[in-house]
């Protein structure tokens, strides 16, 4: 996460009574929304502000809270607020979260939460796939790999998402067989992972920019996951981390390869 931070001194803009909504709107567009969009922290300093109105605070932060949810709230620091200012900020945040705009529109494609992976390590997915041969059920897989049944479930589900397992009979697909036969850490393995990710529904619908030079932020991915699945924010953030983790695992190899190319 990028932690670039900046501070808005409210008194300099409003004086001791922060009530002009035009000023609030300007700060919202110029400072708050760009920071939240880019995953950056922002501090709003209310030192020497004695009084504010609910309309002012609403115009200042409500859009950001509705757009970026709790994650957006976590990026904002409210400094030196008196009791009243704090109460108004709390109120606006509470109802803005309640009316968060993170809702699907009529043309949004909804996908199942089961199509969003939650196994962070591609290596362990491969280990589970290799262990499938000779294992009749999850319990046997668990005994064989030493992973908990819950984590076996995550990895099998991710393998299905990546097209390595047939969703109907649960058997390895051709690409699944290809994968288990590749050498660990090899370029062939990396290419198969990349192809599988690019062919997956989650990549095409939610993270088409996952493998680009500039990755989408955790928040951006989480927001898209929430939009397409209706997941809660905290779950969506965890699943976004899985996708970013996959990117890192593939990207590492790519960097080494480039270095070798240069040599």
């Amino acid at each position: 996460m990028n932690n670039t931070s900046s501070t808005v001194i409210m008194y300099d803009l409003t004086g001791s009574f922060a009530e002009n909504k035009d000023t609030a709107r300007q700060v919202r567009y110029k400072d708050i929304l760009p920071h939240l969009e880019n995953n950056n922290n922002i501090c709003i300093d209310f030192s020497s502000v004695d009084l504010t109105t609910q309309s002012f605070i609403h115009a200042l932060i409500s859009e950001g809270v509705r757009k970026y949810g709790e994650f957006g709230v976590s990026l904002i620091t409210f400094k030196s607020c008196n009791t009243l200012v704090k109460s108004i900020i709390r109120t606006v945040i509470y109802y803005s979260l309640e009316y968060s705009t993170i809702e699907p529109s009529s043309d949004t494609v909804i996908i199942s939460t089961e199509d969003i992976p939650q196994a962070n390590s591609l290596d362990t997915i491969k280990i589970v796939l290799r262990s499938l041969q000779g294992s009749k059920n999850i319990e046997q897989l668990s005994n064989k790999t030493g992973y908990s049944k819950r984590h076996i479930g995550y990895r099998l589900s991710s393998a299905r998402i990546l097209g390595y397992l047939d969703p109907i009979n649960g058997e390895l697909t051709n690409t699944g067989i290809e994968l288990v036969n590749t050498e660990v850490g090899s370029e062939d393995e990396r290419k198969l992972f990349i192809n599988a990710i690019e062919d997956s529904k989650v990549y095409q619908l939610i993270a088409p920019d996952l493998l680009e030079d500039k990755s989408p932020s955790q928040h951006t991915l989480a927001k898209r996951i929430m939009l397409h699945t209706g997941m809660s924010e905290s779950t969506a953030v965890r699943r976004a981390n899985t996708l970013l983790s996959w990117r890192r695992q593939i990207g590492d190899s790519q960097m080494i390869l480039r270095l070798f190319d240069l040599i």
């Binding site: 009574f17 909504k21 609910q54 309309s55 309640e98």
Partner: protein
């Protein structure tokens, strides 16, 4: 009443109508002149008066066309309040800010007129804001389903209703907070709060059954008037008597609690206060 007259006069003057004033010897005309009414009805001031510096007891009628006018009005108000009525200043500042914002946002571009008067004997401040704009029914119809003027007036004092886009609280610029907050301020100080639009009016009675604020005006002790002569626009008036800054803070806390009672998050939300 003065804000209404100024809005009404300004409306007709803009339509090219000439306004004549009669019975200008009547008691109170000096006061009306000092408050600046004649300026807005394009009538000659009928009597020679000594214009007092407004600081101390009143804020003369001010025409608010845009946010810049409103900002100037608020700026002019500050020294008057701080110097003479610091006991009331927070509540009055808050009220006037929210009311002028609210009326201007729902006026549909028509100018709003605001004024305030401090009454020493009863120790209260009266505030009035009026416009001859589109009225609450038309304004609220853009956001929620309202049946008629009476329904609009009742809906307008509920928290979160009068935002500028569809669904409650969903506007980025408009909290729909102003009228509800002002009703609560009047409730707490056992004073009147009234709103008029179209052919309907709502008046909060001074004496309420409970000190708790009601999100719905139906649960307040109130009067509703229907089939009144049509006022094309909106008028809001209230009296404030809040004894101290501390009292205002407590009042605000109670208003906000009423406001958010139905929206309290199911799990704790971490807000970074430093």
């Amino acid at each position: 009443m003065l804000s209404m007259l100024a809005a009404w006069g300004d409306y007709w003057v803009r339509q090219g109508v000439k306004i004549n004033c009669k019975n200008t010897d009547a008691k109170g005309v000096d006061y009306v002149a000092r408050m600046g009414l004649f300026k807005y009805i394009s009538a000659t001031n009928p009597r020679e008066i000594t214009e007092h510096e407004p600081s101390g007891s009143f804020v003369p009628i001010t025409k608010l066309v845009n946010s810049s006018d409103r900002a100037k009005f608020m700026a002019n108000l500050m020294p008057i309040l701080n110097k003479n009525h610091s006991r009331y200043s927070d509540a009055v500042k808050y009220s006037l800010s929210e009311l002028t914002n609210n009326v201007m946002e729902h006026a549909g571009g028509a100018p709003a007129f605001a004024c305030a008067q401090y009454y020493k004997q009863s120790d209260k401040v009266s505030i009035g804001v009026a416009d001859c704009g589109i009225g609450l029914y038309t304004s609220l119809s853009n956001t929620i389903s309202v049946v008629d003027d009476c329904d609009s007036v009742m809906q307008s004092v509920k928290p979160g209703i009068s935002g500028a886009v569809k669904s409650v609280y969903s506007s980025s610029d408009n909290a729909g907070a102003g009228l509800f907050y002002n009703k609560c301020i009047a409730h707490a100080s056992r004073q009147y709060f009234a709103i008029i639009s179209g052919s309907a009016a709502f008046r909060l009675r001074r004496k309420q059954n409970s000190i708790d604020f009601n999100a719905s005006p139906v649960n307040d002790r109130h009067d509703v008037y229907q089939n009144l002569p049509n006022w094309k626009g909106t008028v809001v008036g209230l009296d404030i008597k809040v004894a101290s800054g501390r009292e205002f803070n407590n009042l605000s806390k109670r208003v906000l609690e009423t406001y958010t009672r139905q929206y309290r998050p199911k799990k704790k939300v971490n807000i970074n206060f430093e």
